[in-house]
Every structure is written in C-alpha cells, then in structure tokens.
Symmetry: C2
Subunit: 321 residues, 2 copies
C-alpha cells in the first residue's frame, strides 16, 4: 500500500490538486474551476470528487491517502480549520472546511493554513529552503505575503496573523500602503508598487523608454520595468534599485529578528531574475552589520506554480504524528 | 523533599544567585563579586560554593536541587553550553560553563542562555508576560537587547543570534549605530542614544533646561532627560518623543512578524514611567494598520533587578522533561 498525501490549493478561480508520495514527489495533479458562487457545500463536494478521480486516474485507492492539506487566502481560523470570509469567494463565511472535507474523504485528517504559509512550507520541505531549519519567505505579487519557519515549524503568532511581512515599515512616514500604514515594504517592492513607482516617475517627467509604454498601453507593469531594465533604461534601473533596497532592508531586519539561514523570494517579481537578486544581495551586504555578512543565503524560490499544492501536501505530512 | 531550581546571573562584576521553588517563587538570594580575573575555574568554583552556602542557609540540601540555569552576555554557543568570549571577562574563552558547573553541582543539569533571553523568559514565566504564549521583550539599557517567545519557547535562530532587536533598522541611512549599521532602533531609543540625542541638540543650540546640566556635569544622561521632561522642558519632550516613536515603529514591525500578544520593555529607561509608555502606545496606535489596533498589549517589565536570576531559574525549569 502506498502512503499518499493530497495537496489542495483553493483559489477564487481554480482548485489545484496534487497527489504526492511520502517524500512529497508529485505523482499526478489536476485543476478544476472553483465556481465559488455555487457555495461551500458544492465546492467542497467537487474538491473531494476531484481528489477521488485523481487517485483513480493514478491507479491509487482512497485507502492509500494518509492525509490532505489545503492552502487558501485568509482571513481564517487556521487552528480551527474555519474560513471566516474570503474576498474571492463571497459565499464562504465561517466555513468549517477542514471538517467538511475530512468527512467527504472518509475521515482522513485534513490540515489547513493560509496560502503564503503553505507556499513557504513547500519551499522549506522540498524547494529553495530544503536543508535548513530556519527560513523566511516572501511572495512578491500584487502585495507581499510572507512565511517564517522557526526550528522547522511555521510561526503563527498569537492570532494566526504572524508573518504579514509585507507590512513591515521600512520608511517611516513614507509611501502609503493599501493597509493604511505608511512606508511598508509592500508599498515599495510588490509588483504593483514597483509598477506604480515607475508610472509616477514617468508622469513626473523622468526620461525613460517606459514613457512609450505608458503612452501606448495606458499603464506600466512590473514586467515592463524588467524588460526595459534589461534593455538598459536608466529609470528602470533606479526603480529596480528601490525595490531591491526595500527588500534588502527587510532581509536585514529579519536576520536580526528570527535569524533565518535562508531567505526565499517567490512570486511574479522573481521573473526579473539575477539582476534583481544580485541588487538585493548587494544592498544587504552594504547595509548589514559587518559581523553578520554572509550569514544568510538570499535566494529565489524553485517550486514555481506548484508551490501551493506541494506546500499543502507538506502541511498534511507535517501534521502527522 | 523540596524541588528547587537555582538561577544564576553571571555578570562581569557580580554573580547573583537565587534559590526558587517549583513555582519559581524566590526562597533566598545572594550575590558575590565575580572576580573574573581569577579565570573561569576559580569563578565557577566560587559559583558552586555560593550555591551550596545559599542552600544550607535556606535549610535546603543539594539533593533538593532539580536543575540550575545561567544567564550571561554573549557571544556563546548556548546549545553547547560554551562561553566563546566575554567583553567583561577577558579570561573566559571557550569555557564549557554548563558542563563545568554541572560537575561541581553533583551532576545536576545546567541550562545556559544569553542575559536578554533569560530576562525575557523570566518576565514570560512569572512577570509582565505571564499568561500569554507569544511575547516580545526589549531591554533598554546602554544598548537595546531583545528576546522573542513563540508558542511558549525562546526563538534562537539558526546561529543562536536571533532577537538582536536593537539592530532592527527603522530609519534607513539614519543615525550611525555602534554595530556599524545606520538607523537601528538602538541608535535612537537606548538610554545612551536618548542621552546623546539630547546632548547633540543642546550643543546645536536648542533652548532647554538641560543646557545647565551639560554645562555643570559635562554630560546629559537619560535620567536627566526624564527629570527635565517631568519639569516641563520642551526639548526633553521632543527627545522622549523620538525615543517613543522609534520603539513604537519597532513594536509595529514585531506585531507583523511574530505577532506577540504582549510586548514588554525592561531596563533602566523604564524608570521614565508612564510618560514614556503612553507615548509609545500613542505612536503605535497612530501608525499601525487599523485592523491591528489594540491587538497587542505594550507594558513595562515587573521583575526589576531579579529578572536575571528568576529567568535563569525559569530556563532550568523549562529544560526539564
């Protein structure tokens, strides 16, 4: 009999499901539309049916399953397995998803955590964080999410809202963040903020090849910034430097706080590649206490779009006694 | 037979030793000169003899001792029980203090951690942090030290240098810190930095009753700042505001990172009293994400100068299976 772990990435648009062996190697995966408007009962039914079909298609039996894990955006009471509400799934209110799915999976244990923590755990278990016990994780997307691994375990905090790393203030009284604070790292270094800083600079009259993009498309994306950076545009370089410095300062602070061995960046922004990574490392080494230089490895995530399902399977595995 | 825990606070000048019951109530305490120049063998011998005498004076037997704990400034390999070196005790180099003391205490288990972590654990166990599982601790002295309790345990990090909270950068490219970084919270809010900012302001010509202090004593201390604040001096108010804002920003960041339920300030600076505490709370509430207002309690430590021995006893107790 195989020992199988199921990883589920529940998003507003799609449910991604993966089937993993006990070493978290991917055996098979699939995705179905969430259809969140149908309500939690229907969605969770579909989730269980998709798990069964995936197992059957992989010549596995439901009895092979040890446990399942789910990652989804908050807010939620993770320890109780309840989605409190969801921006992308308005009908999900106080849904005891862990219990509901467990019942539909024949009583198999189900674990549950937020999407950033789950992706962090996936990178820790089998990705860029493999082999260390202390890690810090950032997702650089529309916003900035985070995760912290301390001695091999996710840090949840007193109210399960720890590791909201995008809202670390790096420039007091600086740029306004979506959260209402001023000077959060998210207000400088997320994909959205990077694009916005470029747009503002062009609108303020900065010389840049990005002006043509703004004129023609009506907006600048973070991808545009990297493409023009690669082509040698000076403004794109300045904007990327601002992103890198904000992230480097955040890395320095995290080193002094939880002292990770490795800091892992994930999300759309890492498509910028080595030019971003090297600038982060440069700023880090320039600003860090000399004694602590080279004590942390700053790297990019390696799991790509499967991080959600891998992490959810890792969550399920870690919850086993 | 009683269950006794011994707490030892090893400083460069004095060794403080306390004898505690299993609820960490202080039974008796004593202090002897460290005489660090005599070298580690002599110092540790004296430490063991002082423990024995303290037990005898308290009508207790060495057999009553369950375990002992030691707190001392770093750098050290705490998990291995070794003092690597010590600024205040130059003859202490690679001293396996945990093992040496254990042998002299008849093989009783000895625990060992740095002074800030130990004080943090003391406040957590029986002081201002009692009753919560997640806490952040700052000592505001010459520098700023820190400790983090996550789910009831100290956070040590990958190299046992976590929670160096004084070196969180709050003002990038700001005031130079002793560590070489710029803009650390220690460079604004330690007792020394508070005094230095006041001195600089007076020297730069600011109107203040502190000018007389500088002229007469040749220096301004943080205590002077508070006394003149209480007397209504405007510069003393501005300087204290700067200290409070720096600490509040650090609290905000810690809330987003490890999400403590309580943040505890200790050290000489808390003699400033409610005027400092209230300014920290005001700045915190002014700058924090609205959703997270009132989610953390910001308080002053309650154990005073016994924090070191209480924390060391708590360390010994927590290490028991």
């Amino acid at each position: 009999m195989s020992e199988i772990f199921i990883g589920i990435d529940l998003g507003g648009t799609n449910i991604k499901i993966g089937c993993f062996d006990s070493q978290l190697n991917l055996i098979s995966k699939t995705a179905v539309a969430t259809e969140a408007d149908m309500g939690p009962e229907v969605v969770i039914d579909k989730m269980a049916q998709t798990v069964e079909k995936l197992l059957a298609d992989s010549n596995l039996s439901p009895q092979d399953v040890v446990a399942a894990g789910i990652g989804t955006p908050g807010p939620a009471k993770y320890s109780e397995g309840i989605i409190i509400k969801s921006t992308n799934m308005p009908k999900f209110k106080n849904v005891p998803i862990r219990q509901m799915l467990s019942e539909k999976l024949g009583g198999k244990p189900v674990s549950f955590d937020n999407d950033a923590n789950v992706a962090c755990l996936g990178e820790y278990a089998v990705g860029a964080g493999k082999g260390v016990n202390n890690m810090v994780f950032f997702t650089l997307g529309t916003g900035i999410g985070g995760g912290i691994i301390n001695d091999g375990k996710l840090v949840h905090g007193c109210g399960e809202n720890a590791a909201e790393l995008g809202h670390i203030i790096i420039y007091p009284d600086g740029r306004k963040c979506n959260c209402g604070q001023k000077g959060c790292v998210e207000a400088y270094a997320s994909a959205d903020s990077t694009a916005r800083r470029a747009t503002e600079a062009v609108e303020a009259g900065a010389q840049s090849s990005l002006k043509k993009v703004l004129d023609e498309k009506g907006k600048i994306t973070s991808k545009d910034v990297y493409e023009h950076l690669a082509a040698g545009d000076e403004l794109a370089k300045q904007i990327t430097d601002g992103t890198a410095k904000a992230l480097a300062l955040t890395c320095i602070n995290m080193l002094h706080i939880t002292e990770p061995k490795r800091i892992v960046f994930a999300g759309g922004m890492i498509a910028a590649g080595d030019v971003l990574l090297n600038r982060i490392r440069d700023y880090f080494n320039e600003h860090i206490w000399t004694l602590k230089k080279e004590t942390v490895q700053i790297v990019f995530a390696t799991l790509g779009e499967d991080a959600g399902i891998i992490g959810a399977a890792a969550l399920a595995k870690q919850a086993q006694p």
